[in-house]
């Protein structure tokens, strides 16, 4: 079965320190990978995606993620955390095996990781 795992329910980081939010996936073929962020009582905001090409992907708000095919991981990183980065982060995968005519199919989400950045 296709799945996405975010092994940490919560990540605590001091402001200014680097942060990593982990994500691993189990999908056949070469998936499309996404990170979204959810602030309280808000919808999901797109951060970044990996489709193909360079394994290091840069996204919004200084976030980046590295695709590692051998480890089936797509960890989210930021060199220096801000208090305003505190939110719920979701890793998601869009399985590529179906022909979606150029757009993504439905997303399979991880359970989310709550990031807390303290001053």
């Amino acid at each position: 079965a296709q799945s996405v795992a975010q092994p940490e329910d919560q990540v605590n980081v001091a402001e200014g320190n680097p942060l990593t939010v982990k994500c691993t996936y189990s999908v056949s073929g070469n998936p499309y990978l996404f990170w979204y962020v959810q602030y309280p009582n808000r919808g999901l905001q797109f951060l970044l995606k990996y489709i193909t090409g360079d394994n290091l992907v840069k996204g919004s708000y200084g976030f980046e993620a590295e695709f590692n095919k051998s480890q089936t991981s797509f960890h989210l990183k930021k060199p220096s955390a801000l208090v305003s980065d505190s939110a719920l982060y979701f890793c998601a995968v869009s399985p590529p095996e179906r022909d979606y005519g150029g757009s993504q199919g439905n997303l399979i989400f991880g359970k989310g990781t709550k990031l807390s950045v303290k001053p």
């Binding site: 797109f46 993504q104 989400f109």
Partner: protein, 116 residues
């Protein structure tokens, strides 16, 4: 519009009542998705549309749930005879059709359905 608009923001229904949620996708986007986010933050895919056609309904409960995307109207998700377990936040998302390139989905702010 430039954002996915969902209405209402909050909806309270007694058990057994009908609930109807609306979603206006971003103009020009061909795909619409509905997701259900339950209390433990888990997202469950329900259904997707390509324009007005059902594209993927593998996540849709066969009973009580239905959805439509008609031309020149907001998309809708309807739950007949709501149950307590239907309480969740329902998110709509839309994405653009772009040949040979996958595009990200843009999410609305959600409708919080509370069944009492």
């Amino acid at each position: 519009g430039e954002e996915v608009a969902q209405t209402p923001k909050h909806l309270v229904r007694g058990e057994g009542q009908k609930a109807k949620l609306y979603c206006a996708p971003i103009k020009g986007h061909s795909y619409v998705f509905w997701y259900q986010q339950v209390l433990k933050n888990e997202f469950k895919f329900l259904i997707s549309f390509q324009n007005e056609n059902v594209f993927d309904e593998t996540g849709m409960p066969k009973e009580r749930f239905s959805a439509k995307c008609l031309p020149n109207s907001p998309c809708s998700l309807e739950i007949q005879a709501t149950k307590l377990e239907d309480s969740a936040v329902y998110f709509c998302a839309s994405s653009q059709w772009v040949e040979a390139m996958d595009t990200e989905a843009f999410f609305g702010q959600g409708t919080r359905l509370t069944v009492v």
